[in-house]
């Protein structure tokens, strides 16, 4: 291939600039690995395995934070999955184009609403009902991840060929059977949607910190709860010594958890897209 010297220079510039996003992801991985492993050296396993995270008492048990993160996201998913899938099915199978655009727009607005705004709404409407609690955290998270799930599941369902659904309908079966066939065909895309919604829930700090109560004891539904990410945003700035190390370990843990789930989710989606 014939290429002039200035053109080669331009491609080099693109190469250097284009490496930046990958360098950023590599750098944050190195950052978490190095700080996380150093923390493992500074804190004993006994401390980290404790049942409480109470930094003022020198207790750095990670179990309450991990359980808080998992419990709030799983509870949010149990609300988000039925609502999100039912909406996506309705929009795909039964709504006319105008209604679909209207509902889609509303869902997209909710999806794009900043976490501080959702958190404020939760503080005003949810906390008075259920207190600063795991339940409040789960409800606020559900409000954040349901639109994500709805949009992604809807996109997956619209990939299913219309002729297939026509053929099923021609058999004279009811709407529920058609919906079942649609779900079965879009199942990988739906699973991808659920995992991506889950990563959004696992990583949310701002909205949850406003309503969860943030006490690092083992979670109960109507008791205050702390998660890995809420603890980071509320404590990191003032933490020193082993407290800071333990927080780095928490950051590495939540990143590893989400990294695993999101790579898996994307792979499922890609597999669903390729014929």
């Amino acid at each position: 291939m014939f290429r002039s010297a200035p053109e080669r220079g331009r491609w080099w510039a693109v190469g250097v600039a284009g490496a930046a996003p990958f360098v950023a992801v590599g750098a944050i991985a190195v950052f978490l690995l190095s700080h996380g492993s150093r923390a493992l050296g500074e804190l004993s396993i006994g401390t980290l395995a404790g049942r409480s995270w109470l930094p003022l008492d020198g207790l750095f048990g990670l179990a309450p934070l991990i359980l808080g993160t998992l419990a709030s996201t799983l509870l949010a998913l149990t609300l988000a999955i039925p609502v999100g899938l039912a909406t996506a099915l309705f929009l795909t199978l039964h709504a006319g184009p105008r209604l679909r655009t209207a509902v889609d727009s509303a869902v997209a607005v909710l999806n794009g609403t900043p976490s501080v705004v959702i958190g404020l709404w939760g503080l005003t409407w949810i906390v008075p009902l259920v207190g600063n609690s795991l339940a409040a955290a789960a409800l606020v998270l559900a409000l954040m991840i349901t639109p994500t799930l709805t949009l992604l599941a809807g996109a997956a369902m619209r990939q299913v060929p219309a002729e297939l659904l026509e053929a099923v309908r021609a058999l004279g079966v009811g709407n529920d059977v058609v919906a079942g066939v649609l779900m079965r065909h879009a199942r990988l895309g739906i699973l991808g949607a659920v995992t991506l919604a889950a990563t959004r829930g696992l990583g949310e700090a701002v909205a949850v910190a406003m309503v969860a109560g943030n006490v690092g004891t083992l979670p109960s539904l109507f008791g205050p709860v702390a998660t890995l990410t809420t603890t980071l945003i509320l404590e990191f700035d003032s933490a020193v010594g082993v407290h800071r190390s333990a927080l780095y370990l928490g950051a590495a843990l939540v990143a590893a958890l989400i990294g695993t789930v999101s790579v898996w989710g994307r792979q499922l989606q890609r597999r669903a897209e390729s014929p």
Partner: protein, 268 residues
């Protein structure tokens, strides 16, 4: 059965959006007055306007989106035009997936420690911009790659057949053909930037004044609201007014995304 449940669920979501918007409008209206969008906040944010915060937000978000767009477009061009090796592409895409999923607060810690501490920029506009760019770059690169891959591959071979160089073909044919998808990704990233509080809290800081240089701290609107709600007693009332403005901005961004006609493709 499913049909009625689906209709109910759709109604629920639409109702929630109306509830959220209505609640913000009603409660936020109490703090509005002529000049609210221009005045500086007073009494730790419990009174006054949000003028400096709007400017800070515009400054930090526009610089971050510009920087992230530049490097992400380069990354997407490399990925789609110059990387024929399958396993390298897979590994790089997995890195982007990890970056997209990385919680904002973890980007915030990283930015605060690395740009703020190691590089010595402290709590500042520049620390915030670099951190937010890191957060947005994987999102943008993923969107740009999708956009460039959506361009008919024939286009490139046609250019080659006509003796048009790769570089010229890229800038005069491929990128213009992908423009709607690229613009939609940028709009999406802009929305994320406006709404971000977690990544900027530890990096750009919580100062409510206008910065005099890029090394001064500057709170964005979202960080201001978060700080009002978590550290300022009695800040909830004025937080509502600021949140109503932030919600209006996110609505505008959504209208922009819808106008590109690419909302469907972005849902992946």
């Amino acid at each position: 059965m499913i049909r009625w449940l689906g209709m109910l669920a759709s109604l629920l979501l639409v109702g929630l959006v109306l509830w959220l918007g209505g609640d913000l409008a009603v409660r936020g209206a109490g703090g509005f007055y002529r000049g609210y969008l221009l005045d500086a906040p007073a009494d730790l944010g419990r009174a006054g306007g949000i003028g400096p915060l709007l400017l800070n937000t515009a400054l930090i978000v526009s610089l971050s989106v510009a920087l992230a767009t530049l490097v992400s477009l380069a990354a997407a061009v490399l990925y789609t035009q110059r990387l024929p090796v399958q396993w390298v592409r897979r590994a790089l895409h997995a890195m982007l997936d990890v970056g997209v999923g990385m919680p904002r607060i973890v980007w915030g810690l990283f930015g605060g420690v690395f740009f703020g501490g190691v590089l010595g920029f402290g709590f500042s506009v520049i620390t915030g911009v670099l951190t937010l760019s890191c957060l947005l770059a994987p999102i943008l690169a993923t969107g740009f790659i999708g956009g460039l891959q959506g361009v008919d591959p024939e286009l490139r071979s046609q250019c080659e057949a006509l003796g048009v160089g790769r570089w010229t073909a890229l800038w005069t044919q491929v990128i213009p053909a992908a423009r709607p998808a690229l613009v939609a990704s940028i709009a999406l990233a802009t929305g994320r930037g406006f709404g971000d509080a977690a990544a900027l809290f530890f990096t750009a800081g919580i100062a409510t004044e206008l910065p005099t240089s890029l090394l001064d701290p500057a709170a964005t609107l979202a960080v201001f609201i978060f700080n009002l709600l978590t550290t300022v007693p009695g800040g909830q009332t004025s937080a509502y007014s600021a949140a109503a403005v932030l919600f209006a901005i996110s609505l505008l961004v959504q209208v922009g995304i819808a106008a590109t006609g690419r909302r469907e493709a972005l849902a992946r």
